[in-house]
Amino acid sequence: MTENDHVEHSKQSIWSKYIFSFDHKMIAKQYLLLGISMLILGGLLAMLIRWQLGYPDEPLPIIGLSDQYMETGEVDGVVDEMWDGWFEDETENWLTMTIPGGVIGPEFYNSLFTMHATIMIFFAIMPILVGCFGNFLIPLMIGAKDMAFPFLNMLSFWVAFIGSIVMLWGFFVPGGHAAAGWTGYPPLSSSVEFSGVDWGQNLWIISLMIMGISSMMGAVNYITTIVNMRAKGMTFFRMPLTVWSLFIVAILLLLAIPVLASALSMLLFDRIWGTSFFNASGGGDPILWQHLFWFFGHPEVYVLILPGMGIASDLLSTFARKPIFGYKAMVYAMISIAVLGFIVWGHHMFQSGMNPALGMTFMFSTMAIAVPSAIKTFNWLGTLKGANIKFTVPMLNTLAFVSMFVIGGLSGIFMASTPVDIFIHDTYYIVAHIHYVVFGGSMFALFGGIYYWFPKMFGRGMNMTLGKIHFWMTLIFFNATFFPMHILGIGGHMRRIANPMQYEFLQDMQWINEFITVSAFMLGLAQIIFFFNFFYSMYKGKKSVDNPWEANTLEWVAATPPPHGNFPTPPIVYGGPYEYGVPDREEDWLSQVTKR
């Protein structure tokens, strides 16, 4: 077996090395590249959303009509000329069909927020946190040569790649892309007659099914690898919390995705073959979709945050130079989040027409799930107490993760209280909550993780000055963008509306929308620093040593970057992952492979 590997290794072609690679580390990089591309696209969509909300129905800057043209109809500059010419000839191209004159308008707006959320959740955060970090870290951190099923692993990425192409294709079909929200509630999503969206919605469904297949392949692989391929001495309770979190995420995916897949199939059948699963006049029920979607959807939001929690725990302990506080409590909290996560889905449906008595029980289960989240927070605080904190860039992002996650978790309590949810459901309060947990949570962990593991992945470190600038700008403009959304929500501002100025009661708050838009643009600009730093450092970054952070876990024992097969000899593990500051030792760290 090893003999063969070596033979193959030496005569690898570009195809098998970079494209259809079986190596978990290359596959991780492929996921990372996919995720980052989609992150950029999703971010651009967000900028368009913000333009429309800050300056409703005004033409986009640069590519839209000029003010002069809007007021007088007189052409001013080449852009006006272009549009004017197209209007004259009644040209039908992508631009005139989607943003005539550079004005976003309600139809395209609906596609924008639908695709922003879909892309960010399924094509950016999941591929990076689960796809990239899962693939890269699981084998390295448990001391394995590779994943249990390398071929399946390769397949999983390429299936996700096809899913992404299908999703992108939807932008270019007649009728525009899906526009029923990332939650795709029927009958709006199930009928062309009601939405005007034809193949866009179909491709959205098909793409998510393909992504589901990819995730299932990944999940099976992660679970098998973690159960079977741990190095000698790597007991379950010696695994880093990142591995624990990815293990639990894989189980969540395994249980939740089939439910989404069946709901998506029914939706596709309703659309294409005229079945009536969600069609009331045919004997179906639109609310059935909501039950199925959120039975998947709530575990899904934990799929987004659990890896972040794992990564944050690892980074926090490493840079606090102190063992993680309450390791087992952390593990049990994650397990209870996973279990409870399957019985809280109804909190998305309090006002849906579901029996309100059922809403009452979901209120109690939802309140209960706040407990493990709180436990994790307190343990992170406990880790900081008595620590020796190094404020590196990964650590700054981790500390931001903890504090932003606290805000997101606390806003969840408001919505979990059913009477309060009557008012804030479907308002910007929810949008604020989402972004505090997913951007403030998952994204900060993602940034922290990338800064932290980049040296191991690419053999070079990222630039930490740029990292600091990026961090502070992101933290400040993130809060300037999303905190005021709480206020909009309290004012009653509905989510998913294209033009707040159509409502008298929202007009006084329009300046907040404008403020948010400006902040969001600054937040977007800050990310350019990150992307530049990322690609620049890949080729020009400072060469890194094997263990730049003096961390304990096994990935730092491997060479940098790790070769095919990871470890020269299978590592033997002698202790837990968080032995920092052990008394009576000269160094303040103690690698898992060091005999004690």
Partner: protein, 219 residues
């Protein structure tokens, strides 16, 4: 921050606002505590060359304390929330007036039963996007939808309920103040979702009488 809430004009709205404030204060205190400790630790325990951190793996007593404290905390919030929810959405009071509201892309069709007080008869009155009710009376809204899901939202009444095709959902309110209020749609319902807007007129009882006399068909 809660000053941004639109003026409340419904009887049960005060209970929602009370809970809003209650949770607001509780969560603010928790946030300040957590943030305070965090900043304190970050300053006090910042890196010093040669110092070692405290070598501890946790404290079961602390785990027990904060686990039970949060459990009790959220349980209390749930328990004080429950009666308001029951009052608003489960135990509806007997109605003085019933109006049937049918949502469609992108209008609210308000149907009044007419003088015979029965829906589906010739003397029914239908008005688009205009809901007229008297003050201080229990109003039932029979909520229907003709096409997709909409959500009947009256911010000033603290009322929100999805309108679902194939279901007849009844919600209630009692307005305490006369005036003109907006009824936006809160659930994405298509390209015209933004701008789907009705108006609620809460009349004094005399004005309501006059409105009925003027608009309702003779029986």
């Amino acid at each position: 921050m809660l000053d941004w809430l639109p003026e409340n004009i419904s009887t049960y709205g005060m209970k929602i606002d009370f809970l809003f404030y209650l949770i607001y204060y509780i969560t603010n205190i928790i946030f300040l505590l957590v943030a305070g400790f965090m900043i304190f630790f970050m300053i006090k325990y910042r890196y010093k060359e040669g110092r070692k951190s405290e070598y501890t793996h946790g404290n079961n007593k602390l785990e027990l304390i904060w686990t039970s404290a949060t459990t009790i905390g959220v349980l209390i919030i749930a328990l004080v929330s429950a009666p308001a929810w029951k009052e608003i959405k489960i135990d509806l009071p007997e109605p003085d007036i019933i109006v049937q509201v049918t949502a469609e892309q992108f209008n609210w069709r308000m149907l009044y039963p007419g003088p015979d007080n029965v829906f589906g008869t010739a003397d029914d009155l239908e008005i688009e996007n205009e809901l007229n009710v008297p003050v201080d009376k229990v109003i039932h809204i029979k909520l229907l939808s003709d096409d997709v899901i909409h959500s009947f939202f009256i911010p000033n009444l603290r009322l929100k309920q999805d309108a679902v095709p194939g279901r007849e959902i009844i919600v209630w309110f009692e307005a305490m103040k006369t005036g003109r209020y907006e009824i936006p749609c809160a659930e994405l319902c298509g390209f015209g979702h933004s701008g789907m807007l009705g108006l609620l007129y809460v009349h004094s009882s005399e004005d309501y009488e006059a409105w009925v006399n003027e608009n309702w068909p003779e029986s």
